[in-house]
């Protein structure tokens, strides 16, 4: 009886082996296909833009549009304005959100849900509505300053910063760390600066990356507020020389990637140093 059962199993299993392999292969192909499709979705437009920016009318390629970039009028000013706005936005949003989030995590954990909903609003409300409302309400002296844009970008960056900080703080026992620091004599500023911020490094870097990427790529609001930031300059200059404008767009994309890679690699090297101490 037992041998019959064993035989049956063997007979039954033999054709299963190639079937399983075939199935596994299909899954692997399926996964690969999805990955390639996703990659193509991002790579093709970039490739097309790069090709367009470097290709001459006769079909040959040259780096002359890139070489011509530094001499373009208004580009440097637009670039520095964008960078200034990015860092001012980052400073304001972190200054506002870090203490607020720490307070909410410590004292008002139930308020987190409300915060989550509130911070989604800037995504739900179209940027054009936001900026028109702000331009209507802002005093004249503020309207005359590019930093009005930074204030609006703070609102736009809030959903991303909120989520980064929320997950970072969620991984810490904030209440105990704060109380431990205070019992040792630390005031609030010392506690935040020396204890919480270093432990929120990854969350802060992720908030930084997202905020910088958002501000450096924002067009609608800057355009409506009549400030020539880098994206606005690219669109405007596109009407004069599309090749150079596209080359600048490509370079700004590469620049943003380089900046983000630098920030992430700083975090990684710090983690690696800590891990090296592990026994």
């Amino acid at each position: 009886m037992a041998s019959v059962v064993t035989d049956n199993i063997v007979d039954f299993e033999l054709p299963m082996v190639p079937l399983n392999l075939a199935k596994r292969r299909r899954i692997r192909w399926g996964r690969g296909l999805i990955l390639w499709l996703a990659a193509a979705y991002f790579i093709i437009p970039i490739y097309a833009a790069l090709k367009f920016s470097l290709q001459n009318i006769n079909g040959s390629f040259s780096l002359s549009p890139i070489a011509a970039i530094p001499s373009q009028p208004g580009l440097a000013a637009a670039f520095f304005l964008s960078m200034r706005l990015a860092f001012v936005t980052l400073a304001i949003v972190l200054f506002l959100m870090v203490p607020t989030m720490i307070y909410v995590h410590m004292k008002m954990p139930r308020f987190r849900r409300f915060m989550e909903v509130v911070t989604i609003l800037p995504i739900v409300i179209p940027p054009i509505v936001l900026i028109l409302g702000v331009l209507e309400a802002a005093p004249l002296w503020l309207k005359a300053s590019p930093y009005l844009l930074a204030l609006v970008y703070v609102v736009l960056a809030m959903p991303f910063v909120y989520r980064s900080l929320d997950s970072g703080l969620g991984a810490l026992d904030v209440k105990t760390l704060v109380e431990a620091a205070r019992s040792l004599g630390a005031g609030w500023i010392s506690t935040i600066w020396r204890v919480l911020v270093p432990n929120l490094r990854s969350a802060l870097l992720s908030a930084t990356v997202l905020t910088l990427a958002l501000v450096l790529g924002e067009f609608t609001m800057a355009s409506l507020d009549l400030w020539e930031t880098l994206p606005v300059w690219i669109v405007d200059f596109d009407q004069t020389n599309a090749h150079i404008s596209t080359a600048v767009a490509m370079l700004s994309l590469l620049g943003t990637w380089a900046l983000l890679t630098l920030i992430v690699s700083i975090d990684r090297s710090h983690s690696r140093r800590r891990r090296r101490n592990d026994v």
């Binding site: 810490l172 026992d173 105990t176 760390l177 109380e179 431990a180 620091a181 205070r182 019992s183 040792l184 004599g185 630390a186 005031g187 010392s190 020396r194 204890v195 270093p198 432990n199 490094r201 800590r274 101490n277 592990d278 026994v279």
Partner: protein, 367 residues
């Protein structure tokens, strides 16, 4: 091993810096909504004394500690340290070292930097800080772990570093908020001895919150049993165990059995004999009263006409605890484990009281 080497050191690395500060908590009330977490809680702690706050969950012991630390503000009452009212002083200026229940080391700092953190805030020089941190880590037996980060230390090691960190600032009062509850039994017992020995060596006033009566009784100079936001009884562990003043204390500290008794002239009738009543007789009701008996206060002898029947047996090591059914109640009786085989389930036994007096209380309504 580490503990042994530390406790057998002939000379302490860090000497007692002071004799500790006296602490007086007076009529503390702390409300959370309609809940009275502290309801007129008062306690006086002598310099260098270790007092354990013991009680069930929600009795207010942690709130009392947090009020003392400055993390909670009392709705009324006062906190006095060294004769000075510190009720309005923020936590960071109270000069109290605290070890928390959950691991509280700063994850971004190694053990040495954690210990030196309080000294850095006090603007001590880097060299002096490092030296002091080294001394304290040696004191808790972790000198070799100075450069390790919290995630590289075990739970027990983390709590020892936290203790060193709390001691580094030479606090007026050391506050321990269930620091051993997250540790396994062996480490807990080791650390318990280490904390006590350090506390005595440094003569630092210490308040220790715990729900574990064994911890409280073995470590504290005095134990404050808390219930419903008030101190039920404050006494030395031996006195608390032997002479509980209230039914709550008798039942919460150690093991007690409730037995319905009849009040007679001069005491109560128990197991067919007269027993004296301990404590205040005036406030007792005339009828519907129970005696509270410790297992070691009752003796059981096998007797075919005995009124008690053994219905439960638990081996506890040197002793075996019997559950004896008697007049509708179950009385716990400890016998030597060597004799325990004689008391099989269903055996009839005679019970006698081996203590001179008994604690008597009004009958429990659900009893």
């Amino acid at each position: 091993m580490m503990l042994e080497s530390h406790t057998t050191q002939p000379t302490p690395v860090v000497e007692a810096s002071s004799s500790g500060a006296p602490v007086v908590l007076k009529d503390l009330v702390r409300l959370f909504g309609t809940t009275r977490a502290l309801d007129g809680f008062s306690l006086e702690i002598a310099p260098g004394e270790l007092v354990a706050l013991l009680g069930p969950s929600g009795c207010g012991k942690t709130t009392a500690l947090r009020v003392l630390a400055g993390f909670e503000q009392p709705d009324s009452g006062s906190v006095n340290v060294h004769g000075k009212n510190v009720s309005g002083v923020p936590a960071q200026r109270r000069d109290m070292g605290m070890v928390f229940q959950s691991y509280s080391l700063f994850p971004n700092m190694n053990a040495s930097d954690n210990v030196a953190f309080g000294l850095q805030l006090r603007r001590q020089r880097a060299g002096a800080r490092r030296a002091r941190a080294g001394e304290l880590l040696e004191l808790v037996g972790l000198a070799d772990h100075a450069s390790k980060y919290p995630h590289q230390l075990s739970g027990g090691q983390q709590q020892r570093v936290a203790l060193a960190r709390a001691l580094a600032i030479e606090p007026q009062v050391l506050l321990l908020d269930e620091p051993l509850s997250a540790l396994d039994a062996k480490v807990r017992a080791e650390l318990r001895d280490q904390i006590r020995s350090l506390q005595q060596r440094l003569a630092i006033t210490t308040v220790f919150v715990t729900h574990d009566q064994e911890e409280a009784l073995s470590m504290a100079d005095r134990v404050c049993v808390m219930s419903k936001g008030r101190a039920e009884q404050v006494a030395a562990p031996s006195s608390l165990y032997a002479k509980p003043e209230t039914a709550f204390v008798a039942e919460f500290v150690g093991v007690s059995s409730r037995v319905p008794v009849t009040r007679t002239k001069g005491g109560v009738e128990l197991f067919g004999a007269l027993a004296k009543i301990r404590g205040d007789v005036q406030s007792l009701p005339e009828s519907e009263i129970d005696a509270l008996l410790r297992p070691e206060d009752v003796s059981a002898t096998i007797g075919s006409h005995g009124l008690g029947i053994v219905n439960h047996r638990s081996f506890l090591g040197a002793t075996t605890r019997l559950g004896v059914g008697f007049g509708g109640a179950t009385i716990k009786v400890d016998v030597r484990s060597g004799d325990a085989e004689l008391f099989e389930l269903g055996t009839r036994v005679d019970l006698t009281l081996s203590s001179r007096d008994v604690l008597v209380t009004g009958r429990k309504k659900d009893a």
